[in-house]
């Protein structure tokens, strides 16, 4: 700007004048001393040096004060506007004797910039405010939340407040996880997704189904689908949008199906309880009196009752797996004991088919972490299958050993009809039964599907190896308790809770 070159030439002129004046003064002083006092050159030089030093000092003082006046005025103007200083008056530029035009210009610039930034600030808050004034956002019947980059709720509409039973004003400024205590049906939680997209994506969106929300005591659990949109560089301080699509009614109706199942199971179990009771009475009290073939029938009746009970439990547990209701409590257990007792309860079912169960358990297996009843159901299902598909074969081998990967592996091997390789991929599917055998062999087709889910919930794996016409080997692994104990340490009951593919808590709630 011209003001600046004006200011520079003014400064140069003043400095030049000041230095020239002081030089002239020194020369004049020297001439005076020489002409009127007739001092010799050395004395004059000494006096001139002394006076020169004093003059230079005074000059430095003056010039600092004088030349820095404009700078101080600008500084005062800035401080006057700065938000965190108080009591600094606006500078009076008119009083300034030198650099006036440049300083006036600079101060105006400062004022202008400050006003721009303060307008910008109000603009920004206006944008957030815009959402709160936005007719659609405000009146959207769907609960709607806006989060800033720290996952703090910047805006929530009235529908959100109603949904949670909280005032809008109590939602704003809260961390979203403190307000929404959500449980997701899988590890794909909102929290995990947000963590993943932050820093990796500029924008992202995702939806989740069957999210559960525990509202306060007075409200029933909410169930809904959740949609979220993330935008890293949104200039309005909005990073994430959340919309809730409530399906509490629909989903809880579906949950009613579980209680329908529970009632059906109850109705099935009642006559079964009685049949097993009467069979036992016959066994105990008639056993010795009736002839061999009738005693054989009683045993068979008993075995069939056991099988029926196992089916009923399968139906119940499949319902639980499918609805994420299955919860396993893995406790430290002696595998040999667990397996032995599972096989013991299968012996009758094998015996009435003329089949022997050969059990071989490796010594010194580590303690395992299992839910006893569930894992015994797995063993039961595999042995039931082996019995079913044994054909003419009369032996089933059950064997347990420590696998190379440190897990405890158990195999159930039959020498029967085997499984065609084309059928293997479908084997663990619900209601699937081997095509060739469907007409000859009964069953629900739930056993392997359920067993796989149960083993997986134990952290293990279920596999099959089969040659058609030679038999099948099913194997599954369970984990040593020590491998699970890291999980158990955080759990005071020394019990590890797992679900089949169950509800995973949104752990961010506990992160802060």
């Amino acid at each position: 700007m011209d003001y600046l070159s004006d200011f520079l030439s003014q400064t140069r002129l003043r400095l030049f004048a000041a230095i020239l004046m002081s030089n002239i003064a020194l020369i004049a002083l020297g001439l005076i001393l020489h002409a009127f006092l007739s001092l010799n050159v050395a004395t004059i030089a000494a006096v001139l040096v002394g006076v020169g030093i004093i003059l230079s000092f005074l000059f430095a003082l003056l010039i600092t004060d004088y030349l820095s006046a404009p700078m101080r005025t600008v500084w005062q103007a800035i401080m006057y506007l700065a938000p965190d200083t108080t009591g600094i008056a606006a500078p009076d530029v008119k009083k300034l004797k030198y650099g006036n035009s440049l300083v006036t210009s600079m101060v105006n610039q400062v004022y202008q910039l400050a006003s721009v930034s303060s307008t910008a600030k109000t603009e920004e808050s206006k944008k957030i405010g815009d959402i709160s004034r936005n007719f659609i956002a405000q009146n959207l019947p769907l609960p709607f939340f806006v989060l800033d980059p720290t996952e703090t709720i910047k805006f929530a509409n009235q529908a959100a407040a109603n949904y949670l039973g909280i005032q809008v004003s109590d939602l704003i400024g809260k961390n979203v996880y403190m307000v929404l205590d959500m449980s997701f049906p899988s590890e794909d939680t909102f929290d995990n997704w947000l963590k993943k997209v932050k820093g990796n994506s500029a924008t992202a969106s995702n939806t989740w189904e069957r999210v559960k929300l525990d509202v306060r005591d007075t409200h029933p659990t909410r169930m809904f689908d959740l949609a979220s949109y993330y935008n890293q560089s949104n200039p309005d301080g909005i990073e994430t949008l959340l919309v809730i699509f409530d399906h509490t009614k629909l989903y809880s109706q579906e949950d009613q199906a579980v209680s329908f199942m529970a009632l059906s199971v109850h109705e099935l179990r009642s006559p079964l309880t009685l049949l097993r009771g009467y069979i036992e009475v016959f066994e105990d009290e008639l056993g010795q009196q009736v002839d061999e073939s009738l005693r054989d029938f009683i045993e068979k009746m008993n075995a069939q009752a056991d099988l029926l009970m196992a089916y009923i439990n399968n139906i119940l547990n499949v319902t639980r797996v499918d609805d994420d209701q299955l919860e396993l409590k893995l406790t430290e257990s002696d595998w040999a004991m667990v397996l032995q007792s599972a096989i013991d309860s299968m012996k009758l079912r094998a015996k009435v088919r003329g089949i022997t169960l050969n059990l071989k358990i490796e010594d010194n297996l580590p303690k395992v972490g299992v839910d006893r009843l569930s894992i015994q159901e797995v063993v039961g299902n595999l042995v039931d299958n082996a019995i079913k598909y044994s054909g003419e074969s009369r032996e089933i081998n059950i064997e347990s050993h420590l696998a190379k990967d440190g897990t405890v592996e158990t195999t159930v091997q039959d020498f029967g009809v085997g499984i065609p390789s084309t059928a293997v991929p479908n084997l663990f599917t619900k209601f699937y039964r081997d095509h060739h055998n469907r007409s000859q062999i009964g069953g629900t087709g739930l056993g392997l599907y359920l067993s796989k889910a149960l083993v997986k919930a134990h952290g293990g794996n279920l596999w099959v190896r089969s040659i058609e016409g030679q038999g099948s080997t099913f194997g599954f692994s369970v984990l040593p308790y020590s491998q699970l104990s890291a999980e158990a340490k955080t759990n005071e009951n020394r019990e590890i809770t797992r679900s089949a593919h169950g509800w995973i808590k949104n752990h961010s709630l506990y992160r802060r």
């Binding site: 199971v265 109850h266 179990r269 079964l272 097993r276 009771g277 036992e280 009970m309 119940l316």
Partner: protein, 128 residues
Amino acid sequence: MVEDNKQRTVLCVEDEHFISELYSRALTKAGYKVDVISDGKEALASAKTNNFDIILLDLMIPNLTGIDILRALKDPGLQPPLKSKIIIITNLEQSDDVKADIEKKADGYLIKAELTPSELVDYVNNVK
């Protein structure tokens, strides 16, 4: 089968006559004195006055549910406090949290279909 000189007493709260018949037969043979009551209110009154050693409690019974009876008998304010052990015995499948809640209050939780009468006797023998 019962080592105590005193005969142990069992209250069987069960409205299915066939089942209570089987249970009382097996328990009586094992040396227990068994009372069978099929009505919820009557069962609660009897449990409060007769101090049974063991109460086998079904959940689905007329007039009071098994859970109501359990809650009333395990009420810490109950005078005199009840020393009976209460075993829930049912075929009803509960959601896990309801079941956990019942298990906390009761001294045992059994599924009828999974027990034969003699297995029930074995279980009761071990309730101290």
